[in-house]
Subunit: 195 residues, 2 copies
């Protein structure tokens, strides 16, 4: 943090005065905290705590991206998503988690990994933190799904995936974001290599 | 839904057999549901229900994007974000909500609104649904913040915002996504108009 950012943080930060665990779940730690806000008054913060996750944009050497179709209960829809998954434990190496999830869900192993950046999907009420990776040098092997996972894998030219994002046909946030970032990364890499 | 999508949905869908409200919050409805999965076995789904939200990418006529710095308690950080906010009630017209949030948080009114698509920020455990808008034709007026809101507004050339997203300096998901989509939309619009 710069000194300016430190001052801003000190000015805006909220200090917990009470934290109540509503439910210790398998995936979500549901909490309601009381906090003191910048002007000294008290406020309630409803939130969930989450181990964090990884999301992989696997691109084949002929420029196709590997996607999945997966049912998501909270929205009662089958969504087009990139391979992704939770960390197995706090502070797990996210790259190791990405390698595992890619192999388990799609069967692919990749020889070339690029960090595409991270994000908070819902910072207003969740501390979930997702890291994105571009995976290239793909070699196909066997899948290894969890017993309650049912995932259909397919591929699409990356340019078509970008068009689908622009037409709002891919409603999953991490998938939209990693497709756009992977496409922009590859465009910048090509431009750089062409110079 | 196409017939193929309907068949896929019928094959993959999970059917709730029990739904328990853990807490009816002001922002989050925290729930734990029991569901029957595709192979007939039972599974637990921890989730939060949310009214939905809007996110606005306001771009000035000299190509600058309007951003905010806001503290987010769950991640204990000040984040760079686009103007955004929850719907006031279920089925509120999202465009009306976007106009309200833009005015309240930044003071700007916009004459030109383009729908940039929607997304689920965390479909694995939240039904939150966010609609994104590009707002142009900006006219500055007075802000109208909620008493517990403390938001610093600033602007940045859109191209610099895209570079900041690519350098992973903007960790908020909706902000990354709407910046990349707004930039891609404007590029395609320019190309179309140039033809």
């Amino acid at each position: 943090m710069t000194e300016k950012e430190r001052n801003e943080y000190e000015q805006l930060k909220e200090v917990p005065v009470d934290s109540q665990q509503i439910r210790a779940g398998r995936i979500l730690d549901m909490r309601v905290d009381r906090v003191q806000v910048y002007n000294g008054s008290l406020a309630t913060r409803e939130l969930v705590r989450h181990l964090g996750a990884v999301c992989i944009a696997p691109v084949t050497k002929d420029g196709r991206i590997v996607l999945e179709r997966q049912y998501r209960y909270p929205v009662d829809r089958v969504l087009t998503e990139l391979p992704a998954g939770k960390l197995d434990f706090k502070d797990e190496d996210p790259l190791e988690a990405a390698k595992r999830e890619l192999r388990e869900e799609t069967g692919f192993r990749a020889s070339d990994w690029v960090f595409l950046g991270d994000f908070y999907p819902a910072a207003a009420y969740s501390d979930e933190h997702i890291r994105m990776y571009l995976a290239r040098g793909l070699v196909k092997g066997e899948r290894d799904l969890d017993p309650d996972e049912n995932i259909n894998v397919f591929t699409l030219p990356l340019a078509e995936a970008v068009d689908a994002v622009m037409r709002a046909e891919i409603p999953d946030a991490k998938t939209q974001l990693a497709i756009l970032k992977a496409a922009e990364y590859l465009k910048r890499e090509k431009r750089r290599d062409g110079e």
